[in-house]
């Protein structure tokens, strides 16, 4: 057990700081003393440097003095990792960012249904055009009618197991073409659950969002299907304190349903054209 603990950061290393670090590295401290010392390390560069130095000496001696790790240890570890993952570490973390039930208790903003109908009429005109233009138009409409910071259409690419942001409008429009993993993303989770989901500060769970130029405060994600096959998701995100409500969900769901049907029709038509051409 260490006899001296440090409360304040040191300006320089001394024999005493070196001795404390040596005892810590050798495992001399009790769990409580270790915890206190580690707290001290976060603010004391000289002691961190001492720990670095002594732990490297201990590591070097140990590495020079033992056999190789048994090869089956790697398989054992990775098997345990997979088992633990399946057990739900991820779901515990997901549950901290999914706030979908809040949609039913939030006050609902008034929406102009006329605007939604007008937007659908405009979108219907694009049915004879190309899929990308339709998706671009859908996200622009969703951005406006949900008063969102960003709206996007994430298309699922099964083979690569990713979602690609094929259509984006708003603050994150510059990220168009970016991808998120099928297995670990709000879009993937929404498809897994098969129903619309509301996420709060998703970067707490999906850390890659922390690098986005604008942080996401809330994200409302709706699955989009062509027939029974998932096409991807339509979503809106806020970057300020904007909170989405049931009305936003209804608008988004309307566009998502339209997209599923429209893309189905367009792909069916293209398939027929290809087949006729052959």
């Amino acid at each position: 057990m260490a006899t001296v603990m440090f409360d304040k950061p040191h300006l320089v290393s001394t024999d005493e700081t070196a001795e404390q670090a040596a005892l810590y590295c050798l495992g001399d401290f009790s769990p409580e003393a270790s915890k206190r010392y580690e707290e001290h390390l976060s603010s004391c560069a000289p002691c961190r440097a001492e720990v670095e130095q002594w732990s490297a000496v201990i590591a070097e001696l140990a590495l020079a003095d033992s056999g190789d790790v048994p090869s089956k240890a790697r398989t054992d570890f990775l098997t345990r990792v997979r088992e633990e993952k399946a057990k739900g570490r991820h779901w515990a973390r997901l549950s901290s960012v999914i706030i979908t039930p809040q949609l039913s208790s939030r006050p609902v903003r008034e929406k102009n249904r006329g605007q939604v109908s007008a937007a659908l009429d405009q979108l219907a005109i694009r049915l004879s055009g190309i899929e990308q233009e339709l998706l671009d138009a859908v996200v622009r409409a969703a951005l406006e009618l949900c008063d969102a910071g960003t709206a996007g259409f994430s298309v699922l690419y099964d083979e690569e197991q990713v979602f690609r942001w094929d259509a984006l409008a708003g603050a994150l429009a510059g990220a168009k073409g970016g991808t998120t993993p099928r297995t670990w993303s709000p879009c993937g989770t929404t498809l897994d659950l098969g129903t619309p989901q509301l996420f709060s500060n998703p970067s707490r769970c999906f850390e890659y969002f922390a690098d986005a130029p604008q942080q996401i405060f809330e994200g409302l994600v709706v699955p989009v299907y062509v027939g029974r096959k998932p096409l991807g998701t339509l979503w809106v995100a806020s970057h300020d304190d904007r909170k989405f409500d049931k009305e936003d969900l209804q608008v988004l769901q309307t566009f998502a349903d339209f997209c599923g049907t429209a893309v189905g029709i367009m792909r069916g038509r293209h398939a027929k054209q290809d087949s006729d051409a052959k």
Binding site: D15, V51, V57, R80, W184
Partner: protein, 209 residues
């Protein structure tokens, strides 16, 4: 102190032996971030990089492949379950793993001693004999590092390093003041560090034609 305290927490000390190579490979913090997200490939990458270190640190104390492997699994699974247990603000991952692995190994060693009669043996044997017993177990390479260390330092160091005794226990056994033992342990580590630095300098010098 020659260490750079502002370096990347995933960067490593300047060690040069072959089997330490994996520990030196540059690892950008993206691997750690993916590990924290639960990425299996990142778990495999971290394992490949640090498993030998953890195993060796445990083996140094336990001298048994089976229990050393248990410590390895325990430390890695703990990190997988609670990645925030490691805080990059408090140092490098290698240093943290070294300390944690050693602590776990010492806990097991103490448990093992408590379960067998070895505890009595350890208590009854002269401290210097115990230190010599430790010396008999180490490799020629490490033995050479300790060979010309002044005996007072060597005994204190071997009892702490190999036998996992605390400086209080060593002080009691050797009948020396606590401050003296702490100082001897630190001086012994410093002695080894300088020898390792010297060996590195020699081998680097030999490497230049």
């Amino acid at each position: 102190m020659s260490t750079n305290s502002s370096r990347d927490p995933f960067g490593e000390a300047d060690l040069s032996q072959d089997r330490q190579t994996a520990r030196h490979l540059p690892m950008d913090s993206d691997v750690w971030r993916r590990f924290k997200l639960g990425d299996e490939q990142a778990a495999a990458d971290l394992y490949d990089r640090y498993s030998q270190l953890i195993y060796s640190v445990a083996h140094q104390v336990l001298r048994d492949p089976g229990t050393s492997e248990d410590v390895l699994q325990e430390v890695f699974l703990q990190l997988w379950r609670v990645p925030d247990a490691f805080d990059p603000a408090k140092g490098t991952l290698a240093a943290w793993l070294t300390v944690v692995s050693r602590r776990r190994a010492i806990d097991r060693l103490r448990k093992r001693r408590a379960e067998t009669d070895v505890a009595d043996l350890v208590v009854s044997v002269e401290a210097t004999q115990l230190a010599d017993a430790a010396l008999n177990q180490i490799s020629h390479k490490v033995g050479a590092l300790l060979a010309d260390m002044p005996q007072k330092l060597r005994v204190a160091f071997e009892l702490a390093f190999m036998q996992g005794l605390t400086h209080c226990e060593i002080s009691e056994r050797l009948g020396s003041p606590l401050g003296t033992i702490k100082s001897r342990i630190r001086q012994a580590l410093d002695f080894i560090r300088k020898k390792l630095d010297g060996n590195r300098a020699n081998s680097n010098g030999n490497g230049h034609v």
